[in-house]
Amino acid sequence: MIIKVLGTGCSKCKKLEQETIKAVKETGIEATIEKVTELKDIMEYGVMMTPALVIDEKVVSSGRLIYSKEIIKLIKG
């Protein structure tokens, strides 16, 4: 599973990355977490508001900071 955190580096984006790391640890699944900071790459996902979360190339959340509990649901879902 590849999880990407989209954001140009604001505090919410950093927090989302931490929460994602936490979520992956808790579920114990094999996943790589990548940070996408280039505007051009973020745009390609059609994301207007950062931070956003992409799981296996599908945008699952954008424009809001979600916490590990919710991320776990998204990973499993």
Binding site: G7, T8, G9, C10, K12, C13, L39, K40, I42, M43, E44, Y45, G46, V47, M48, M49, T50, K58, V59, V60, S61, S62, G63, R64, L65, Y67
Partner: protein, 318 residues
């Protein structure tokens, strides 16, 4: 509306052994009263707007705005600016998304001007400090500055000042559903309250603290000569001072409230607040990624003049 909080503040002040009419007594009562009032109002407003926001899909809204031309587009973009969250890190992606969708640069700027001026947190604190009338007029003024500002900037044909790479950006399609149930929306709204109150409370407390000092020590009417509504230059000076400042605007509201009580014109105080929020150095640096300095200068000048006019209107009305 919040009389019981005032009673509570007086009760605490008396309990710690202070005279209600002393400087310290007045300052402490004001501090307790204002803090509770603002935190309560802030929580209620953020909850309501977050819940409303959970139904708004930016991708769909962008499509709607791109179909409306002229004045209607500016109005829609400005209203959209009210309901988007106040995080400046999203301004660049939003800008590109708008331009890519074929929305004129002027309309996009209507959005960018209104978005930071009007947000639920500023509205809540204004409501707590000044009541309905002023809070609502503030929102209307924020809208008008955005709409008119965007139209004026549009007259300059600003497309030539947009960095060329913006037009080459390809915007992907994403139509993800954000929330799956009512429960999700409510939970998220509560999270938003915790998140925003958690981030801004100290700015607000510092602001209230300074306000409390002004409240307790500055004599009534002392500032009327310097910054009262009769002084024609006060608004201009307030706006120019406010432009480079980047404070969390929410902290400036309690200060403004205290200053108004001491004779500062309400338009002067609100214009200062608007210029602190709408125009800031960090925002300009972020925008420099997508637009050329010349357009940034026009953006600052247009918005600044708009805010100055709003200040004068307020001073005349109240």
């Amino acid at each position: 509306m919040f009389h019981f909080l005032e009673v509570f503040g007086e009760f605490i002040t008396r309990s710690v052994g202070l005279d209600l009419d002393s400087h310290w007594g007045e300052a402490l009562t004001f501090f307790i009263y204002d803090t509770l009032k603002i935190i309560i109002m802030l929580s209620i407003m953020i909850f309501l707007i977050s819940y409303l926001r959970s139904y708004i899909n930016p991708t769909k809204l962008k499509k709607v705005i791109s179909k409306v031309s002229g004045l209607g587009g500016h109005i829609l973009a400005s209203i959209f600016g009210i309901v988007t969250p106040f995080c400046s890190c999203s301004s660049v992606p939003m800008f590109i998304a708008f331009v890519e969708a074929g929305i004129p640069v002027g309309v996009t700027l209507s959005f960018l001007i209104t978005s930071p001026i009007v947000n639920e947190a500023a509205f809540a604190i204004l409501l707590a400090s000044f009541g309905w009338k002023i809070a609502v007029i503030y929102v209307i003024c924020g809208l008008v500055v955005g709409i008119v500002g965007g139209i004026v900037i549009g007259l300059f044909k600003p497309r030539k000042w947009v960095e060329p790479y913006v037009f080459e950006m390809k915007f992907g399609n994403s139509a993800e559903e954000q929330f799956s149930s009512q429960n999700d929306r409510l939970k998220w709204s509560i999270d938003q309250v915790k998140d925003i109150v958690g981030r801004v409370w100290y700015f607000v407390l510092i602001g209230i603290g300074i306000g409390a000092v002004i409240h307790g020590w500055v004599p009534d009417g002392a500032l009327a000569n310097i910054a009262g509504s009769d002084n024609p230059f006060s608004v201009i000076v307030a706006v120019i001072v406010g432009i480079p400042l980047y404070s969390n605007a929410l902290g400036t509201i309690p200060i403004a409230e205290a200053l108004i009580n001491k004779g500062v014109g309400i338009g002067t105080a609100l214009a200062f607040m608007m210029s602190v929020t709408a125009l800031s150095l960090p925002e300009c640096i972020i925008l420099k990624k997508v637009i050329k300095p010349k357009l940034i200068a026009i953006f600052i000048a247009t918005t600044g003049i708009g805010i100055i006019l709003v200040g004068y209107v307020f001073n005349l009305l109240f």
